[in-house]
Point group: C2
Chain length 212, copies 2
């Protein structure tokens, strides 16, 4: 099993956490996004989207972080990353989607580059943009977590799962842009708890071989 | 069952298709996004994200279109919207995620408004932005579809499913912005086939009671 990733990609970070939680060994191929490795023909043959992560298993390549994680959960059921009841599963998937659909893609490197190159936005304006979308998503997530009895030590109950896997890398990104986490106490509490666990801590960008 | 939606929201469009494919009746609550209904306290109590769709079932509210559709598929298994094999499921979810994560959120109304209000971009610049992200995603989707033997009459085999449900509303958006579909023949072929089916056709924005 080979993971195509980049230390700072939060989508690759999610898959690293999932692989660690499942106790699965994997090889790594480092795709340097700032240098443009993702646009080289060799990588586009792996993933025509030119995005990380991609996971190679035997002769197959899987793309998109949440579908990859669902695949890992279906093929390696223990420990489960989703609850058993359809309603709980919908909740966990939705919490993950708030990050994976409505925060992260808007703040992705290629989007920030478009703002800079095509719209001439400077670093300060791009920083405001970045934190605006995190704040918007975190405000909603904080309510969805704080107002629901199913929230436990982690996003859903007392076992880490798909929602925590999506949340943690986004908080790491927020820290990088110095976003004040004060308004999101439930998110901050869950983040701290996750980072106390080795599968999350070992997946942190700062601990990857390709870190800078 | 009540769907909170808006005729032009492509995420709500997805859920309408899924409900139609499953043959499920539902009530509608129309949230007028251009007038700002989604930011009113009544709707924020339904979905703190202030986005459509949301699906109310008994005393529960589900949010985020793909998790809602997976819930419908788990609770009403026929006809299935995902294949049975984990590898096929990962593929279909990934095709849906290319649209739902990497095209649609970047082109969402709230993002276009930010470009206009905060960055002073005009209609032409915003149109370029819009088509840039559709083109980028469609180029990848076209390859993922055209180069994979599992693509059939529909995105995966000969039965419509989650990937088609995500794809069709995005093509309708592309048509609205006059994107040339010539470079994406496989997408165009699948779109035409889907639109020949009543569950897709009846979910089209132009056929919703709240259309303008």
């Amino acid at each position: 099993m080979k993971l195509y990733g980049y230390f700072r990609s939060s989508a690759a970070f999610r898959v690293r956490i999932a692989l660690n939680l499942k106790g699965l060994d994997y090889d790594s191929s480092f795709i340097h996004l700032r240098r443009g490795d993702q646009s080289q023909p060799e990588f586009l043959a792996v993933n025509p989207q030119g995005l990380v992560p991609a996971l190679e298993i035997d002769d197959e390549r899987l793309v998109q972080s949440l579908p990859i994680i669902e695949y890992l959960d279906e093929t390696h059921p223990e420990p489960p990353l989703l609850p058993r009841d359809p309603s709980g599963r919908a909740r966990v998937r939705a919490l993950a989607a708030v990050v994976a659909c409505d925060i992260h893609p808007i703040n992705n490197l290629r989007v920030l580059r478009y703002l800079h190159r095509n719209f001439g936005q400077d670093e300060a304006a791009i920083g405001d943009w970045y934190n605006h979308w995190i704040d918007s998503g975190f405000q909603a997530l904080e309510r969805l977590l704080a107002e629901d009895r199913r929230t436990g030590v982690f996003c859903h109950g007392d076992r880490p799962g798909l929602a925590d896997i999506a949340l943690v890398p986004q908080v790491v990104n927020a820290e990088r842009y110095q976003l004040d986490m004060g308004p999101y106490p439930t998110i901050a509490r869950i983040f701290e708890r996750c980072m106390g666990l080795d599968p999350f801590a070992a997946a942190h960008p700062a601990r990857q071989p390709d870190r800078e």
